[in-house]
Symmetry: C2
Subunit: 87 residues, 2 copies
């Protein structure tokens, strides 16, 4: 499935969150990650993240899409990480 | 259609970007907005944003979904803005 992950994490923990997310998804913008991922790997990502974060204070939103058929991605301004090199 | 918008904008311009995005979408997390929006309104949002931003430096990614049928939204940690009150 295709996943978009965005996080709003305390500065003290953001480096650890970045490291975990980069293992599983592509960094595309400050606090935003995207990519194809299996259910099993998504489970591992969520587990590892919850170990690093303070779930009373930090926030992660994960959008999962079974198909990208009905979706479109547009960029305004600079593309910080050109995903085309990954697909 | 359903839209997720994320931006990575210079601090000098972030207040203006926030103001524009809030007119059309729901703020859900730092630099992240979501919501149902018409093609016409999305066009207006993009135009207004491009007037406020420096497109050589700032970055906006807009994900558009014709249907939310095949999607799922998960939260880890705190939900900064509970969307259920909007749907």
């Amino acid at each position: 499935m295709y996943t978009i992950l965005v996080y709003d994490v305390n500065e003290k923990r953001v480096a650890k969150a970045l490291k975990v997310c980069r293992k599983y998804l592509n960094w595309v913008q400050n606090s935003v990650f995207e990519g194809e991922i299996s259910e099993a790997k998504l489970k591992k990502l969520k587990f590892e993240l919850s170990q690093k974060l303070n779930l009373e204070e930090d926030s992660v939103i994960i959008y999962n899409f079974q198909s990208r058929l009905y979706s479109q991605r547009e960029i305004l301004g600079v593309e910080k990480n050109n995903l085309d090199r990954f697909i």
